[in-house]
Structures are given as C-alpha cells and as structure tokens.
C-alpha cells in the first residue's frame, strides 16, 4: 500500500469503518510512514473537535414548545372529538351556563396571565440573586441541618409549598441556609449550598406559567422524559426544570455541563 491509497482509507480508519483486511493493511502502512501518521492524528483530532462543536449546539428552548403545540404533530393537544364548533353549541341546555362561564374565564385568564409575573423574570432574577448572595449583599439565615433549612422555608410560605430538598452531599455540597425572596409578587424559596467547589443556590417557586428565558436552551432527557432549560449570565449558570407544580432553578458558577448533569441526576419526574 502506498501513501495515496492509505490516505483514502485513513478517514474510515478513524471512524472504525474498515474491513479487517483493509484495517490491517492501513495500520501496517501508517505504522511505518511519518506522513500518514500525521494525517491519521490530524483526522482523529479534527473528528473529535467537530463532535465537540456539535455537542454544543442544542435546539432553542421555544422550538420544542412550538413543535409540541403544532396540531399536525400532537393533534391530541388541539383536537376536540366534536370539533371546535361543539364548544359553542353544547347538546344539553343545562350545560350552557357552565360553557358560558368557561368561555368568560377563557377570556379573562389571558389578561390576568399577562399581568402575572413570569418565570422568565424569576429565572433571570435568580442569576442576579445568586451573585448578590455570593457577594454578601443579600444575607441569609444559616441553619444547622438541611432538614432545618427546609422546615424554616416551608413555614415561611405558610406551608403552601416546600423547597426542593436535594441532598447534594454526594457531590460535596450541603445546605447551609436559606431565604425567602420576592420577585414581582412571586415568593421564591432559596436554599443555599456550600462545600467543595462553587456554591449553589436552589430556587423553588410555584409554577404559574410556562416561560423560560428567551435565550434559554432546551435539553430533553429521554430517559426521565423531562425538559431542562439552561441559561447564563456571564459565568453564572442556571438550569430550570418543572416538578409536580413547582419550578426549580439551580444556579451556580460551576460549568454548565456539570450543573446540567447535577440537575439531571437529582431530578425525579413528577
């Protein structure tokens, strides 16, 4: 085998796509040829870098929402068995007031919804709040144990909802305190974790809408069938997820991939 023949097979060797015979012949040539060794290493490195570049490209967060709400793709979410006209002409007269009321609610709710604080603003505020906690600009109550932190936070919102009680001790972080933060009339429970590596804040609030920051990236975990939204501000990263009527945002300066892996490993589908 000469260099020209080997060169054509090196790409397939990098991809482990050669037959045994071809692989033996190519390997034998590459072993004794400095030029082809260089080409082999260059192609290997190029493939690695291209794969890395690809892994950093994820679908925009709102694209999944758009696909899920496309009636051609998920008709179950848009279709009514009797068609939309049936909504306005219910068969039984006794149901008409209920339909009228429902119709009114449908008209009023969007207005109310638009005036309500969105998860978008909370998500972005969470990044800022974490920075302020780190800088000591926002004081928080330090408590002895994770259970104590949880109990204090739970009581502070009249037991309407509990903070996400992640035990992050396997990764060297422990809950050291917490605070209740208010963003646009929305009460947010913040658990502060410290320990090995960068500190982490866990924000929990009631899920009142479906928004994520406009620049968030969506990551769908097919195993857990859960969606995670990732977003950043400078070096501060956030990962948002929904669990059982609550929204949880983990915020830290740890690399996004690590933070996402952490969120995925501890998240449990509702």
């Amino acid at each position: 085998m000469n260099c020209i023949e080997a060169e054509m097979l090196i790409a397939a060797m990098v991809d482990s796509e050669l037959s045994d015979l071809e692989r033996d012949a190519t390997e034998s040539h590459v072993k004794n040829c400095l030029r082809c060794q260089y080409i082999y290493k260059a192609e290997q490195e190029l493939k690695r870098q291209v794969r890395l570049t690809g892994s950093r490209i994820t679908a925009p967060a709102d694209l999944k929402e758009k696909i899920l709400s496309d009636p051609r793709i998920f008709p179950g979410m848009a279709e009514s068995p009797r068609g939309w006209k049936g909504l306005f002409r219910p068969v039984r007269v006794v149901f008409r007031p209920a339909f009228a009321l429902a119709f009114l609610v449908l008209l009023v709710l969007p207005t109310f919804y638009l005036m309500w604080p969105t998860a978008q603003s909370v998500s972005l505020a969470a990044l800022e709040t974490h920075e302020q906690i780190l800088a000591g600009d926002i004081p928080f109550i330090r408590s002895g144990t994770q259970d104590e932190v949880r109990e204090r936070l739970y009581r502070s919102v009249e037991k309407r909802f509990a903070p996400m009680g992640y035990d992050l001790s396997p990764v060297g972080l422990r809950a050291v305190g917490g605070l209740v933060h208010e963003v646009a009339s929305q009460r947010i429970l913040v658990t502060v974790y410290e320990g090995r590596g960068p500190s982490l804040s866990c924000f929990t609030f009631l899920d009142t809408d479906g928004g994520a920051p406009p620049n968030a990236h969506l990551f769908f975990d097919p195993e857990k069938k859960m969606s995670f939204y990732t977003f950043s501000n400078g070096r501060t990263n956030g990962v948002m997820q929904r669990v059982a009527g609550r929204v949880c945002i983990l915020v830290s300066k740890m690399p996004m991939q690590e933070l996402l892996a952490l969120a995925r490993s501890f998240a449990q589908p509702s």
């Binding site: 020209i4 190029l46 493939k47 690809g54 490209i57």
Partner: protein, 196 residues
C-alpha cells in the same frame, strides 16, 4: 419501542415521544445544512410534521434517529435545491487544494506560537468552516462526526453508496482542515516536536 397490542393513537403517541428525544440531533443537522437558524427551525418542525404523518412506515426496533434524519435531509433537498444550481466558485476555490500533496503542503506550514491561543476559537471556526465547504462534503461530516451515524446509516440518509460516503468524508475532512489550518491542536503539537 413495543407497538404490539397498541391502538393507532397510542402508537402515534409513543412514536412522537420517542421522536422528540432526537430534537437536538435534528436541529444540529438542520443548522449545518441550512446554515441559518430560522431555516433550521422550519426544517426541524416540518420534519416532525412529516414524520408523524407517516409514522406507520417506521419499523419499530430500527434506528429512529437515522429515519428522522433521512426525512429532514429529503425535505432540505426539496426545499432548498429547487431551482438552485451549484455555485461553481465554491468548488473552484477548493479545487486548488485537491490532490494527494495537500497534507505535505500543510506539514510545511508553521502556525506559530499563537496556535494554542487560537484553539479557544476552534469551535466557532469549525462552524464557520463547515458553512464554507460544499454540501456534498459537509453533509457526511455533519451526519457521521456530529450525528454519530455509521457509514451505512449515512449512506441511507444521503441515498448514495457506502463508498461515496467514505470518499466524501475523506475529502470533506481535508477541506475542513484547510479552513482550520493553524487552529488544530495536532498541528501545533507536531510543530513543537519538530522544533525540539
């Protein structure tokens, strides 16, 4: 995905949930084929609509990722290649680098000590470089290197023989390397070894 004993609605639902798990992969491929974000979004959304429209043609147990990618690529061809001609200039510029002596010329270049600093920009450069190489060479790289499809799967998606995938990948990587000259880590390392 076990479909046995399931109603059509259940099968469709099961299919759509599995299909949505390939969203990032499809978007990645669409982005590098169409080169622009809005087009990539349209491509992906239409791919899902087409796939769900004909989901019963999919054989459970086979590779859904490759099946969806094929739909995406066919739609890309339908939409973007109608009335479009190849741009000869793009090919012309690459033709200069054809031939087996390409790597020898590369080996003679010296990227200089700034090479390592430039590595940081490599990911951006790779995306830009991919946009510059002709689609026939770009597509196999996107499918095999980014999408992690096998040559056999890529040949099905692109409807071409396996040998064509092999040669296009080889040439495509050479083109890509040309655009990344001075940025690749292995070059920098090799240069340093020689200088010692």
């Amino acid at each position: 995905m076990a479909w046995k004993g399931k109603s059509r609605v259940e099968r469709r639902e099961s299919f759509s949930h599995e299909a949505i798990g390939h969203l990032d992969h499809l978007y990645r491929v669409a982005f590098h084929l169409a080169k622009e974000q809005p087009e990539a979004r349209d491509l992906v959304q239409e791919t899902y609509a087409r796939a769900l429209d004909s989901f019963e043609q999919f054989s459970p147990g086979t590779n859904m990722k490759a099946w969806l990618t094929r739909i995406l690529y066919n739609f890309f061809l339908d939409r973007y290649h109608q009335n479009k001609k190849w741009v000869p200039l793009e090919k012309q510029s690459l033709a200069d680098e054809e031939g087996s002596n390409y790597w020898e010329r590369v080996a003679g270049d010296d990227p200089g000590p700034e090479g390592h600093i430039l590595l940081k920009e490599l990911n951006v450069k790779i995306s830009e470089a991919l946009k510059k190489i002709p689609e026939e060479f770009r597509a196999p790289i996107v499918l095999v290197d980014m999408g992690e499809l096998s040559y056999a799967e890529a040949s099905q998606v692109l409807s071409c023989p396996l040998g064509t995938i092999r040669s296009r990948l080889s040439r495509g990587r050479r083109y890509l390397h040309k655009h990344l000259r001075g940025y690749m880590g292995v070059e920098v390392q090799e240069r340093r070894k020689r200088q010692r």
